[in-house]
């Protein structure tokens, strides 16, 4: 009996529950499965098609991704003779690990985060910005020309969006006077998107670039470089490569909701009293809606060119991000006065 209670208290402790169940691994997996399905359904709706249907027909084919994932599981994982084998196998594991790590810093509800840090915003940004390194390694170790092209594109794109994301997020840090995400939510009497819309816009574009969603799915670039860095991967590792972008998108959407959409506010007190993590449902809903909007862009846009994305990053969104810092300073000074 004592063991069972100990186990339950272990699972329900924020240090385990947050990274493993919500908002971490299991929720991320569910998000992965449903957002890809939703993306395909939305695109199908716009394009006068039906979309995924045959797996669980009664529910509109919502389990299609699970079926695909199962198929990936049983597919042979081919390691090409010409690849750098240790790195080839190691890189996707590293990428997945780095993509899951941000959930260690993201608070799901007041006082409910695995790693409490006054610098949690920086923590999330730092961890997400290290994912491209693993992707670079994936591309380079594949020993394939298309994969190397993709890796180089990943490096270029990182240069294009990283500064924008960092500076526009830090502008919000200035506005709230804290780099702690939990504090930032508590200090949002006015949602950040109204407080500093420039920062929200620049961050949103940077987020789309970072997650590699249309119109910036340049790294995968199916029409030129097949799937870029992931071209030599097969089986479940290919699935991981596909899921990587969505994991990043999920982490960024949570961050966007925390910084600009007032996070879990207004807090659902009865649920929060039942179990603290349940108070984060509103945060999850907001993040999910942000994700749905990002995947909807696929039905509207094609792909920008690499140099156009770089130019946009440095000539349009970087100045915008700097402007948002200025705006934040003004907001802060006026707020104190």
């Amino acid at each position: 009996m004592g063991l069972l209670e100990w186990l339950i208290s272990l699972v329900l402790s924020p240090q385990v529950f947050a990274p493993l169940i919500f908002p971490g691994l299991i929720t991320a997996l569910v998000v992965l499965l449903t957002v890809i399905w939703a993306e395909r359904k939305i695109a199908a709706r716009v394009q006068m098609r039906v979309g995924p249907l045959y797996v669980t027909r009664r529910f509109g084919g919502v389990l299609q991704m699970l079926a695909d994932g199962t198929r990936y599981m049983f597919q042979e994982f081919i390691i090409p003779e010409t690849s750098d084998k240790p790195y080839f196998v190691f890189a996707p594991i590293l990428a997945l690990t780095l993509a899951i790590l941000p959930f260690a810093f993201i608070p799901a509800a007041p006082g409910f985060s695995p790693v409490k840090s006054p610098l949690s915003l920086l923590g999330v940004l730092a961890v997400t910005s290290s994912v491209p390194l693993a992707v670079l390694l994936m591309g380079w170790s594949s020993g394939n020309k298309f994969a190397i092209q993709g890796a180089v594109r990943e490096a270029f794109m990182t240069v294009a969006y990283e500064a924008v994301v960092f500076i526009s997020a830090l502008a919000m840090g200035i506005a709230y006077g804290t780099l702690d995400l939990e504090e930032a939510v508590l200090r949002q009497h006015l949602p950040g998107i109204l407080l500093n819309p420039i920062s929200a816009f620049a961050f949103f574009v940077g987020m789309v670039m970072s997650a590699g969603k249309l119109p910036f799915d340049i790294v995968e670039g199916e029409q030129e470089i097949v799937v870029g860095p992931y071209v030599e991967y097969s089986g479940i590792i290919f699935g991981i490569g596909m899921g990587l972008a969505y994991l990043k998108l999920y982490a960024f959407s949570l961050l966007f909701s925390l910084l600009y959409l007032a996070g879990w506010e207004p807090l659902l007190i009865p649920l929060y009293n039942l179990y603290p993590a349940l108070g984060g449902i509103l945060l999850f809903v907001k993040a999910y809606l942000v994700m749905l909007f990002v995947v909807f862009l696929r039905s509207v846009y094609g792909r920008y060119r690499l140099d156009q994305a770089l130019r946009a990053g440095w000539r349009v969104y970087f100045p915008l991000a700097l402007l948002s810092v200025l705006l934040s300073v003004v907001v802060r000074v006026v707020g104190y006065a």
């Binding site: 695109a43 716009v46 394009q47 006068m48 098609r49 003779e81 010409t82 750098d84 380079w140 170790s141 020993g143 394939n144 020309k145 298309f146 190397i148 092209q149 249309l214 119109p215 799915d217 340049i218 670039g221 199916e222 029409q223 030129e224 097949v226 696929r298 039905s299 509207v300 846009y301 094609g302 792909r303 920008y304 060119r305 690499l306 140099d307 156009q308």
Partner: protein
């Protein structure tokens, strides 16, 4: 260690040959990529693309992957059987691709189609042209990863395929025109359906404009990319919409007076810019003109037989009555063994992709002695070499899409 050796292309001790990532020719900085034949956007062919950084140095189109010896096969069978064979060259545009052949055979056989047949040919040709352009626009869309344009164009193409099916009995392989006329008369109520399709398409073209042609992202990808100058276009012998988008008003429908094109009014749209954007707009404008032609053809459709008297007379009286009453022609054995008079004939026609040229030589047998086809895609393939260099690698699919190149047609 191994990342360095994978650059040099040497055989390693364990016998594994590392892929060569850099070519010696043209220096160390040239990066050679083989696009296709197994590639999402190559089509049935291969491109050898050389890059310096992100900029294309040269593109070699390597064609012939879907060569089906069409010309030789046509020499081995009766002349009339060449029609269903050759329409498989460009299955998306199968009436326009064979009408040139039918014209050449008619010249050899010295037979003229009756006016109603000429109008019916014009009708199907324009339906085919719209479907072909929609196919081209859709492929161009997906080459920019614009999946909505792709799905919309392919979905709306279905409207025109169904019209063609209504008229001919087949969605793609119509085999509609035969020497002396067409195989079927206009079905009941066709004009109403065509009018409905035209109204639908006119509305859809506006929506295409909003989602694709005037979408800032698409404009940014197309404008000023792959410029084909007017004098270059004429020097390289480019045909079809790609030529007209460079400002040259040439159309085989006017140049070679076939079907009923001299009796209907239509414009030949041209653009001066010659870039990918102009080529895309060109196709939309041509769809509008085709719909204009279809309306006129259905209004002006003359009455009378849809097949030449000369051949109708050869049919047994009972069969002749049946053909005239049902408006549908089945092939009696007399056509299969029909002898082509000795001599030669040439004909050209305007396909969706451009001008197609036929040269038929007969030695008096039932099979053609030689049947030569020059297809528009074969004439346009040279553009890959001329338009690509100097552009970014990501412009490659954009330019490819705008050219509406169809490999099976070029390879024959």
């Amino acid at each position: 260690m191994s990342s360095v050796s994978s650059l040099s292309g040497v055989a390693l001790p364990e016998g594994v040959v590392r892929s060569r990532l850099l070519v010696r020719e043209g220096g160390e900085e040239v990066y050679e990529l083989f696009i296709g034949p197994q590639h999402p956007s190559s089509g049935h062919m291969r491109f050898i693309v050389r890059l310096e950084g992100d900029v294309i140095v040269s593109v070699d189109p390597d064609i012939g992957y879907v060569h089906r010896t069409m010309e030789k096969l046509a020499e081995g069978r009766e002349a009339i059987k060449a029609i269903p064979l050759l329409e498989r060259m460009t299955i998306i545009d199968s009436h326009n691709v064979t009408i040139g052949l039918v014209r050449a055979l008619e010249k050899l056989l010295d037979v003229e189609p009756p006016p109603r047949a000429r109008y019916l040919r014009t009708l199907l040709s324009e339906i085919n042209r719209i479907a072909s352009h929609l196919y081209g626009i859709g492929i161009a869309g997906i080459m920019l990863n614009h999946s909505t344009m792709f799905m919309w164009a392919f979905g709306d193409r279905e409207v025109w395929l169904q019209l063609a099916e209504e008229l001919t009995g087949a969605r793609l392989t119509h085999t509609y025109s035969v020497p002396g006329g067409v195989r079927r008369d206009l079905p009941q109520g066709f004009a109403g359906k065509a009018e409905k399709a035209i109204r639908y398409m006119t509305r859809r073209l506006e929506e295409y404009k909003r989602i694709f042609l005037e979408n800032p992202q698409v404009v940014a990808r197309y404008e000023g990319v792959g410029v084909l100058k007017r004098h270059e276009a004429s020097r390289l012998g480019i045909v079809g919409p790609n030529l007209r988008a460079s400002g040259i008003r040439y159309d085989a429908r006017i140049a070679e007076d076939y079907a009923a094109y001299s009796e209907v009014e239509f414009e030949i749209p041209t653009f001066e810019e010659g870039d990918s954007y102009a080529r895309m707009k060109q196709r939309v404008e041509e769809i509008k003109q085709s719909m204009h032609i279809i309306r006129q053809v259905l209004q002006k459709m003359p009455s009378g037989p849809f097949f030449a008297e000369k051949y109708l007379r050869l049919l047994p009286p009972k069969l002749r009555d049946q053909v005239l009453s049902t408006g549908s022609l089945k092939f009696p054995a007399v056509f299969a063994t029909m002898k082509l008079p000795q001599g030669e004939a040439v004909a050209r026609a305007e396909m969706g992709h451009g001008e197609i040229f036929y040269h038929v030589i007969s030695d008096g047998g039932s099979k053609p002695y030689r049947l030569r086809v020059v297809t528009p895609s074969f004439r346009n393939v040279i553009l890959f070499r001329y338009l690509m260099p100097g552009h970014r690698f990501m412009d490659f699919p954009a330019i490819y899409g705008s050219l509406d190149y169809f490999p099976p047609e070029a390879d024959r």
